[in-house]
């Protein structure tokens, strides 16, 4: 009996340990096809050259594209029909896997996840990834449709000259609300100076994302959203804790659905998500408060860990989505603005004139990019933990 109990105890301990280990990023098992074994060894590894940008692989002229590639993307960000059309044209199958924050994407790749041929980091994460040598430079000759990119997306701060990434979609972070239940929030104060008697008190969500949440608070306080000043961050933290009492939760994945169902009345989130949810509830509206908000550009890039065969296939896919018709198809699906100048010609005038998608000049001037903050990163995360742990 005693022995059996000991066995049982050790079993339980093992189970507990396994549970505790749940947070450890695991090696991602993906269906990426094996490289054709010829030149796979030429791939640079990030460990070997952490700061230096990886060299283009010296593959022989004729690298056959992989038969199947994995696209690591945000959820509901591309029309599945694009994959079908691409497969019909090239015979290459695209499999999608999803992440829900830039930090998660970065953590998975840093943790050694391989098999992804394409990833979709936002601006500041692209910068981090380039600096860490995690991205493979694009072979621009294979992507002639890069010429379709609008001039102002060609020399972006995080990737001048589109050397590593193709701008995919761009948008803003602001406030979505139910226009039949609440009046338009003019200021971020709905979150940071919440009125306990307001009908939306307890029926709001904020993005479960440290940088986005701090950006909202910092904009409200009139500070730079990339500040590394501890005093300003402390003030922002206090504002976030005040907001927490009025939130039903932090949510980056389903907030627009919760607004559509009427569970919540106000949500902090990305413009296109709210526009998508309008299909379910026409009363959803989007606004950027008077203090301003965040502007961002998502980009499709090839991780340095991709094999030459995957890279070739990925570049074919990049060229494909840069076609005007496909670019328009993507925007029609996800309701985000396209950086593809040629695709705009194929889009409805209604869409191009929608201020929720293309903010007018005076609003655009008040938008800021989130940028890498280097060592202050840990300060942001520590304060975010404090917000999360606050009662």
């Amino acid at each position: 009996m005693k022995q059996r109990l000991v066995l049982l105890v050790s079993l339980l301990v093992v189970m507990g340990l396994l549970l505790a280990a749940c947070g450890t990023p695991k090696q991602q098992a993906t269906q990426a096809p094996k490289p054709a074994a010829t030149e796979a060894a030429a791939q640079p590894t990030k460990a070997a050259q952490p700061t230096q940008a990886p060299q283009p692989t010296e593959a022989p002229k004729e690298v056959q594209p992989a038969k199947e590639i994995v696209f690591y993307n945000w959820s509901e960000y591309i029309d599945p029909k694009v994959y079908e059309l691409f497969e019909k044209e090239t015979g290459i199958k695209v499999v999608e896997d999803n992440f829900s924050s830039n930090e998660e994407l970065l953590a998975k790749l840093q943790g050694g996840a391989t098999g992804y041929a394409l990833i979709v980091p936002s601006d500041y994460t692209v910068k981090i990834m380039i600096d860490q040598g995690m991205l493979a430079p694009l072979d621009r000759d294979k992507i002639p449709n890069l010429k379709n990119i609008a001039p102002r997306f060609r020399n972006v701060y995080y990737d001048p000259g589109n050397k590593y990434c193709v701008p995919y979609q761009w948008g803003t972070t602001g406030i979505g609300y139910l226009s039949d239940k609440v009046k338009k929030p003019e200021s971020w104060s709905v979150f940071f100076d919440p009125d306990p008697n307001a009908p939306w008190y307890g029926r709001m969500t904020m993005l479960d994302d440290a940088r986005e949440a701090f950006a909202a608070a910092l904009v409200y306080l009139g500070y730079d959203i990339n500040t590394t000043d501890e005093k300003q961050l402390e003030e922002a933290k206090q504002a976030l804790i005040r907001a927490k009492a009025a939130l039903s939760g932090y949510d980056s994945d389903t907030y627009e659905d919760l607004l559509a169902s009427g569970e919540n009345l106000i949500a902090h989130g990305w413009n296109g998500d709210f526009l998508q949810a309008m299909e379910d509830n026409e009363n959803i509206a989007y606004t950027i408060p008077k203090e301003g908000g965040v502007i961002w550009v998502d980009n499709v890039c090839i991780p340095a860990s991709a094999t030459p065969e995957q890279k070739v296939a990925a570049e074919m896919f990049l060229n494909f989505i840069l076609r005007p018709d496909i670019g328009a198809m993507i925007s029609e699906y996800n309701y985000y603005a396209t950086p593809n100048k040629a695709a705009e010609a194929k889009l409805d005038a209604d869409f191009l004139n929608d201020p929720s998608v293309y903010p007018p000049k005076d609003v655009l001037d008040k938008l800021q990019f989130i940028k890498p903050v280097g060592k202050a990163e840990s300060l942001y995360q520590r304060m975010w933990d404090e917000v999360k742990a606050a009662p």
Binding site: G16, A20, L106, A107, Q132, A210, S248, K375, K388, A389
Partner: protein, 292 residues
């Protein structure tokens, strides 16, 4: 070949080792080795964007004892204890009921208990969302419709929601071990107790409960340990607002890029679990001895 087999037969211990080899290898590669990596990482410095810097430090363990994280540890402990108590209160009568059914019916009851758990845990947790949501959840909508309440009950995004989810999730783990001990319970002992004029409650307190204690201990540990480390339930039903230590750990890896601190937190949690398990085991076995 046959020579080899006879040679093996003569060496029983070698045979045992060979049988053990696959599982030992498995455990070593997928359990001991990764655990060792986590241990090593917990003494290193973080890289700015994930990874580790090979520089020895005890800072991560010092940070674990920061009141911020201690508070979360304490909350997780409190939630896990309440979960264990509630599953015991709900699970014991159920186990007793099933164990006292005629032999042929018991299988059906156990099956009935298990069937909902054939569905994925994540899916079941999301299903609870449709019940618990504050303004569009079925429970609040029904109660409001019946006019029993005028303001929705706070069932979502707090400890209540997490405990409801955990109790639901781990109930069978409490019921099954208790059922197993109760089923084996010698009926003649109960008859003997009653022949000696023990009242119903007394029979329970002096005979049934002590004899079912091994099941209660096993069930409690099966519930307590996963509850302490829970992270899916608080992430979903807690609305990302009410966190447990499992969420803090997963955040260190997936959001904060702080692997060493996440590793240190994991190790401290394992130590807490180990100590709790040993103490619990110790205490109850003493009690058992006294009862016997």
């Amino acid at each position: 070949m046959s020579k080899l087999i006879t040679w093996l037969r003569q060496r029983a211990s070698l045979q045992a080792w060979l049988l053990l080899l696959p599982s030992a290898l498995w455990l070593f590669i997928f359990f001991i080795a990764p655990l060792f990596i986590v241990l090593v990482y917990s003494f290193l410095e973080r890289g700015t964007y994930g990874g580790v810097v090979w520089h020895f430090t005890l800072e991560n363990y010092r940070r674990v004892f920061d009141p911020l994280y201690l508070k979360t540890f304490w909350r997780s402990f409190y939630i896990a204890v309440l979960t264990t108590v509630f599953t015991l209160v709900l699970g014991y009568p159920l186990a007793y009921y099933i164990a006292t059914r005629p032999q042929r019916q018991r299988g059906t009851w156990v099956l009935g208990l298990m069937i909902p758990f054939w569905t994925n845990f994540l899916v079941r947790t999301y299903a609870w969302l449709t019940l618990l949501r504050t303004h569009t959840g079925l429970i609040n909508l029904t109660l409001m419709h019946l006019g029993w309440i005028h303001k929705p009950l706070p069932l979502f995004g707090n400890d209540t929601a997490i405990i409801i989810g955990l109790v639901y999730g781990w109930l069978p783990d409490m019921v099954l071990p208790i059922y197993a001990t109760l089923e084996r319970l010698d009926r003649s002992l109960l008859e003997a107790a009653m022949d000696l004029y023990a009242s119903g409650p007394k029979v329970f307190a002096r005979v049934i409960w002590p004899l079912s204690l091994p099941g209660v201990v096993a069930g409690s540990m099966l519930v307590f340990i996963p509850s302490l480390g829970a992270f899916v339930t608080p992430a979903i039903l807690g609305g990302g607002k009410a966190l447990m230590i499992g969420n803090i750990i997963s955040n260190q890896f997936l959001a904060a890029h702080d692997w060493p601190f996440g590793s240190a937190l994991s190790f401290v949690m394992m130590a807490v679990m180990l100590v709790a398990t040993l103490v619990y085991f110790r205490v109850t076995s003493d009690e058992e001895r006294r009862q016997l």
